[in-house]
Subunit: 564 residues, 2 copies
């Protein structure tokens, strides 16, 4: 088979990426599944660089740079090295611009030295970017061969804010073709794997971020999320992932799939090794007047009172709802155990947990899928047409090119009028869901409705490549426009997470999915939980995420940082 | 021609309305064009009732009820009478529920008497509703015969808030069939006329509100606005009209045309005899946590700092932009004069005014029209199909049933994908417009961009029935999602507003429109100006509207209240 033009272009991109990694950072290939220890064992990083990159708490990293314990150049070089190693182990990057990063780091160090103060709240911190955020002077192919070579004249709004805040840009990360998968594989950069177990997917579409952050090649990155794309990789990779409400953080200047689809707006999806990373990023952006960079961003600055949980009893004696299943797909045993751990932890910390009955999640998911597929694939086809590259219809390793997995079957295009009818249904479901939420005030004992909802991030932990289904546990919150975050809780432990028989299953799909669980396949995969609040309660969610995270850590059950 | 079923239903509705008006409030038909004096001359209202209804300032009315100068029953009966007379003169109402209003007023009086305090910030104030806001137990036909008899099980969110705030509901007001006209005529209730000159239209789609408020049959009403529907009637009728940003005030539970169309969200459009009416209504709603009643409403409470113009120099030494023409339709001489009066007034009050060059208004208008017509008329057709009533294609008095006016020609339906492409264009134009606005910081001398923009509300004052065009001067702000309000400035005066020749016209449409101006036809028609700010600056806009209004009044040029 002769090499076609798009394959040549893709190879050039991959070669460029390879060439950006200095020879002395190249490590020998590994055969093991779990590659989390490689950065520590490979000898590329100095002990200081290991110390820097293994500091999970973003606030500590920033403090140590601002306080001159570490220079920004030191920190940046450490993360460049570690990202390079992470990439060699998981294929997580699409771009590496280490030289530019180190140059900027030196400028920041000089600034700090000369002026005695930081340029902004992210001074000297390397921040990774999903391959959707335009960077001036670079192309953003987003996994499409057709898009190779389209050089950006401007930074995306988020990139501008990062720069102005003192952050250092050094890598961009891999995505699935079309973005509309919770796995990560495309024709240009290939497949990203999960560093906990390379036979498993890191999730998607921000799967490059998930793998990179799991390996501590980054402590803070920008994913995106229109259905779970920051939260599923966070759950699969054992990191923190956040989806704010529509238009709370500025998306302008990011390329996208289904661009122009506004029924369910794509959110900037921060991901991190810590709650502090999500908090600092969100606060920094919301204090930067992002509505001056993106006309769709809501004029709603960071609210300290909301973060202090002024409308949630100051964070004392909270009442959480807990949803064990969404009524469509039964969570696997380790996911249920993560919920149990979380429930016990927050109860032990003095909070209350009451049952939440899922309400029309299947309907919400159906509307969401219909909206995403409203173009009948025209958006994908337009993106593929220029280069002639094939559409990826299955994420399986050995996929037959003609195989189309069930949740990716093409649909007939909708008219604008059809779409309007879906909007009416969605609005009605949002009203009903909100009314139910508010009605819990009669059961919480706090006088308030539930403060947040604890639920699975997915019915499974990271699955083998090609085995994910549509992301019903995350996408309903996109449909409802509720902010949601995922935090790590535990990992699959075959000694406790044994195969169980489920008395009630929700049909054949649920049955086949539930039967997929095999402790030996999922062994060691991270498991998180999802925390959800009402629309535009970002600050409160981030504060309550900290409370849940602290409760879990004090209970000793959470595993954070790389498993070293 | 035999009477069809829909005609029978429509007659029943009209008869019900007529029957709701007590015989002693019936006045003899009038032949004059200007009917503003009829309430004072007809003898139905007592001198106290005239005093009550001629108080333009909503804050004074509220104070006089709260302070027991007037009972709520007195106030309510006064406005019921005056609304009944306004209706007889202009055909502005669709529903009158005077008995329920008086019953509620008596309850409120009793509450105040017993508890010594008001039930809420709108205690005892009658508020009129456009025939889109559902009222429990009533049908809302919105001018469609097909919709007659569909009884609401719940109040619209805004109606709930009004009730909880102590407002009294007493009438609903007329709309054009399909709502998508800036005139007011439908097959059920017929045509509403302008009380300043009944040969002219009151505008639309909130034309019933415009006519009612111009006659002081209401001092505060809820219109709606997706392209100018609160602002055009305000301009045509000499009252105040306001369009907030998308989803700032709760629209849930209101019926709509093109329902489900979310690309340009319909706004609740308050209308009043005073700036204080717009301010009090908006503040009341935003302090009521409206996001608990409508899941699409932004969680953004009333902001006192913004109202104090904290980001606009505290309101001292403001710099306004002024736009004399949008580059598509040349304003008639009285509209230009209203701008000149406003410019001089704010300059005399110590503010600065700089020129604003319109940017791609034609493109914005084209995108807006394409979005509205994206269904190819399917929404209208569905609404008409049940009853078989005809589509109204022209608002002319003597319209040939087969005539379709230029801006109402049917369009081919769009696909969802087509709509997404329009969203991309719209987003880009919003970005460019915002950047231009922000860039004025280099010209204002305040260090800030222009604080607000002064521009025409329409290229004309109220025109003869059937002569309006599409509302380009108002719809661009819906497309950009900038809040905008219209306030009255002057009226057409043939002695100064003489016919002029325009050196440069923007094509044949502009030419024909410009030639429409005839001082004798437009004589006495009110003329307003429009004031515009950036997205979600409602509080600042309402504060600056007050500054402009005060400047105009102190300059002696504004005419407010009924011309008695």
């Amino acid at each position: 088979m002769s090499t076609t033009r798009w394959q040549e272009l893709a190879k050039v991109k991959r070669d460029q990426l390879q060439a950006a990694i200095p020879k002395e950072w190249i490590v020998s290939p590994r055969s093991e599944s779990n590659v989390l220890r490689v950065p520590r064992e490979c000898g590329v990083l100095t002990s200081t660089e290991l110390e820097i990159t293994e500091e999970s708490d973003v606030s500590v990293l920033l403090r140590n740079v601002a306080g001159k314990k570490w220079t920004s150049v030191e920190v940046t070089r450490a993360f460049c090295k570690r990202a390079a190693i992470a990439h060699q182990m998981t294929n997580c990057l699409t771009d590496a611009f280490f030289d530019a990063a180190l140059t900027r780091a030196a400028e920041l160090d000089e600034h700090l030295q000369r002026n005695g103060k930081v340029v902004g709240p992210l001074h000297g911190l390397p921040v990774s970017l999903k391959d959707q955020y335009k960077v001036k002077g670079l192309g953003t192919s987003m996994g499409y061969a057709s898009w190779i070579g389209d050089i950006a004249e401007d930074d995306a709004a988020m990139v501008q804010i990062l720069r102005e805040s003192g952050a250092i840009l050094y890598v961009r990360t891999n995505v699935p073709q079309t973005l509309m998968w919770t796995e990560t594989h495309n024709n240009v950069y290939g497949r990203t794997v999960n560093p906990h177990n390379r036979a498993l997917t890191p999730g998607g579409s921000s799967g490059g971020e998930g793998a990179l952050i799991a390996m501590h090649g980054s402590v803070l990155g920008l994913g995106t999320d229109v259905g779970g794309s920051s939260r599923v990789p966070a759950h699969f990779c054992g990191v923190y992932g956040f989806k704010p409400s529509y238009h709370r953080l500025p998306f302008f200047g990011a390329v996208n799939s289904l661009d122009g689809q506004e029924s369910i707006a794509t959110a900037v999806g921060p991901m991190s090794t810590s709650m502090s990373g999500l908090q600092i990023l969100t606060k920094t952006v919301l204090e930067s007047k992002p509505w001056h960079k993106d006309p769709q961003t809501i004029r709603m600055p960071w609210n300290n009172d909301a973060y202090a949980l002024a409308e949630h009893g100051g964070g004392k004696g909270l009442c959480f709802g807990i949803m064990w299943t969404d009524g469509t797909l039964s969570p696997h045993p380790p996911v249920v155990r993560a919920l149990e751990i979380t429930k016990k932890a927050v109860e032990a910390a003095g909070h209350k947990v009451i049952e939440w009955t899922p309400y029309k999640h299947a309907e919400l998911a159906n509307i969401t899928r219909a909206i995403w597929a409203a173009d009948g694939g025209a958006d994908y086809q337009a993106a593929l047409a220029t280069s002639g590259e094939p559409l990826i219809n299955s994420m399986k390793l050995d996929a037959d090119p003609n195989e189309v997995v069930a949740h990716r079957k093409p649909r007939d295009p909708l008219t604008a009028y059809d779409l309007w009818q879906l909007h009416k249904q969605k609005r009605q479901l949002r009203k009903e869901y909100m009314d139910l939420w508010l009605a819990t005030a009669s059961q919480t004992g706090t006088g308030r409705p539930i403060d947040a909802l604890i639920c699975p991030a997915a019915p499974y932990a990271a699955v083998p490549h090609g085995q994910t289904r549509s992301a019903v546990y995350t996408m309903v919150w996109n449909a409802l426009d509720y902010p949601a975050l995922v935090l790590p809780v535990t990992e699959v432990d075959p000694s406790v997470d044994i195969v169980k028989t489920q008395e009630r299953l929700f049909g054949p799909q649920d049955e086949s999915l539930y039967k997929m669980y095999d402790p030996e396949i999922f062994k060691g995969a991270p498991v998180g939980v999802q925390l959800v609040t009402q629309s535009q309660e970002e600050e409160a969610l981030l504060a309550m995420g900290q409370i849940v995270d602290d409760s879990l850590k004090n209970g000793g059950s959470v595993v954070t940082g790389p498993r070293l």
